[in-house]
């Protein structure tokens, strides 16, 4: 199956590029930081340790995936590898989806490794749910980074756009709460701003609803809420892949 072969190439490239070592370094840095901070806590030291570990590993997984996807994709474009691949009897969809499957597999592997590292601190069931959620989140970031790398064609803009989308998606709920809060001004300008924020929110995934540290600290979420949150990610991932395919088919390479 050509897409699976392409995915394997992507995984082999990530392994040779040192991604496992970077993941290990992130793990060591996160454990060290958590151990240091828990030493100065006068209560909830274990909760603090777990919260630091989970937050740092989540950020590390997302950053590593985004950087790996953008760098690998743009290197292939710059080295004319993409043109060579397109000369093969493979559809553009196979090529795009194969690469995406490889990057998504990297995301799943990173999430599994990081979730396993949390097991000494958190209950297994909650950790498993957190790990699955992180895998979905990192796969969505892979889809976003692939889309921006293919569309923008430059490393820094691709990583900046991915980071911007990610951070905005994680903070949009707080921005909406501020815009609609009781202290918000009741002027026309304020109402327009509030509507604009709601409009932006319609185009973003609900990353504030997934991979919660709360799940590890206070117990797993309800099945309905969890399924809805991951369903939202799957839908947005599909949207990004469809947008990427649309752009790729229109590109005159």
């Amino acid at each position: 199956m050509p897409a699976a072969i392409l995915a394997r190439f992507v995984l082999a490239e990530a392994r040779r590029g040192g991604l496992p070592w970077l993941a290990l370094a992130s793990l060591i840095a996160a454990v060290s930081l958590a151990a240091f901070l828990s030493q100065v806590a006068i209560t909830e030291s274990r909760a603090l340790q777990l919260a630091v570990l989970a937050a740092v590993l989540r950020a590390a997984a997302v950053f590593l995936v985004a950087a790996q996807v953008a760098a690998s994709t743009l290197r292939e474009i710059d080295d004319k590898g993409l043109e060579l691949m397109l000369s093969l009897p493979l559809s553009r969809a196979t090529h795009y989806l194969g690469r995406f499957a490889g990057f998504a597999a990297c995301a799943v592997a990173l999430a599994a490794a990081f979730a396993a590292a949390l097991l000494p601190w958190a209950p297994p069931a909650a950790t498993a749910l957190w790990g699955v959620s992180l895998a979905c989140e990192a796969a969505l970031v892979a889809a976003a980074a692939l889309f921006f790398a293919m569309t923008l064609g430059q490393l820094v803009p691709a990583i900046a756009a991915t980071a911007g989308l990610y951070l905005l998606a994680r903070s949009i709920a707080a921005i909406q709460a501020i815009a609609a809060g009781p202290l918000a001004d009741d002027s026309a300008l304020s109402r327009i701003a509030s509507v604009a924020v709601d409009g932006v929110a319609l185009l973003l995934p609900r990353l504030d609803a997934v991979t919660h540290t709360d799940w590890l600290l206070y117990g797993a979420p309800g099945a309905g809420a969890y399924a809805a949150a991951l369903g939202g990610l799957a839908l947005y991932g599909t949207l990004l892949v469809a947008a990427g395919l649309f752009d790729f088919y229109r590109r005159s390479v």
């Binding site: 590029g17 040192g18 070592w21 901070l37 828990s38 100065v40 806590a41 006068i42 209560t43 909830e44 030291s45 274990r46 909760a47 603090l48 919260a51 630091v52 989970a54 937050a55 951070l167 994680r170 903070s171 709920a173 707080a174 921005i175 709460a177 501020i178 809060g181 990353l207 504030d208 919660h212 540290t213 709360d214 600290l217 206070y218």
Partner: protein, 230 residues
């Protein structure tokens, strides 16, 4: 990850000198910095819970605890309690299930020699207790003891004890906590009362964090030393 490298001899001498000097200057500069606890400016005004929530990027539980570590770094002497209470409130609002802000208010910020500041911290505990009595009663129980033994304000201590009895409903709240008023009215010393309360909390499993147990043990030892108990 390997790469082809030329020998060190290929690097011009002036680059090596510049590198060595820059490294030496950096280490010397950092070495002159004061390595002990930094002199702190006064506590800045507390951000709103919404602003903290925005800054947390979804990691509310983490930011709530990091904010508490930040507050802990300020010297208690000269601390602006109005700002402190606002910080504690915002932190608790960020993660309402965290025990850290109430623990710090009851065990750290209320146990200061200034009665006015102590009362402000105790009132914070009482006010936030009312929002979630079944989870937050241990801090109000301690607040009652502080009110009786440190502030010598029996009326305030009874008010807190009555609040525990009146507002707690959960089955896991022990009988001694519900009957805190009797406990307050008895002619009992601070050390004895603290020992009973700590023993009760440990027995009920309310304290399971090693840092918290160590902190409370240290406080009990200090109390014993102050009372001359061996």
């Amino acid at each position: 990850m390997t790469r082809d490298e030329r020998p060190v001899a290929a690097v011009p001498r002036w680059v090596l000198v510049l590198l060595g000097m820059a490294l030496g200057a950096q280490v010397a500069l950092q070495g002159t910095r004061h390595s002990g606890p930094a002199e702190r400016e006064s506590l800045p005004p507390a951000p709103s819970a919404e602003a903290l929530s925005l800054a947390a990027f979804g990691e509310r539980a983490l930011l709530s605890r990091l904010a508490m570590l930040y507050l802990q770094a300020f010297d208690l002497r000269g601390l602006d309690y109005d700002r402190l209470i606002a910080w504690l409130g915002a932190t608790l609002e960020l993660d309402p299930r965290s025990e850290y802000p109430l623990f710090a208010a009851a065990r750290l910020y209320a146990e200061v020699p200034d009665p006015e500041r102590s009362r402000a911290a105790l009132e914070f505990v009482h006010e936030r207790f009312l929002a979630d009595p079944d989870r937050r009663w241990p801090w109000l129980a301690h607040a009652a003891l502080v009110a009786k033994h440190r502030l010598k304000d029996l009326a305030l201590a009874r008010r807190y004890a009555q609040a525990i009895d009146r507002h707690t409903r959960a089955g896991n709240v022990p009988l001694w906590a519900r009957q805190m008023e009797i406990f307050i009215l008895e002619d009992m010393g601070e050390l004895e009362a603290a020992k009973i309360m700590l023993g009760g909390l440990l027995e009920s499993g309310e304290i399971d964090d090693p840092a918290e147990a160590a902190f409370l043990k240290q406080r009990l030892d200090a109390l014993e030393d102050a009372r001359g108990v061996k």
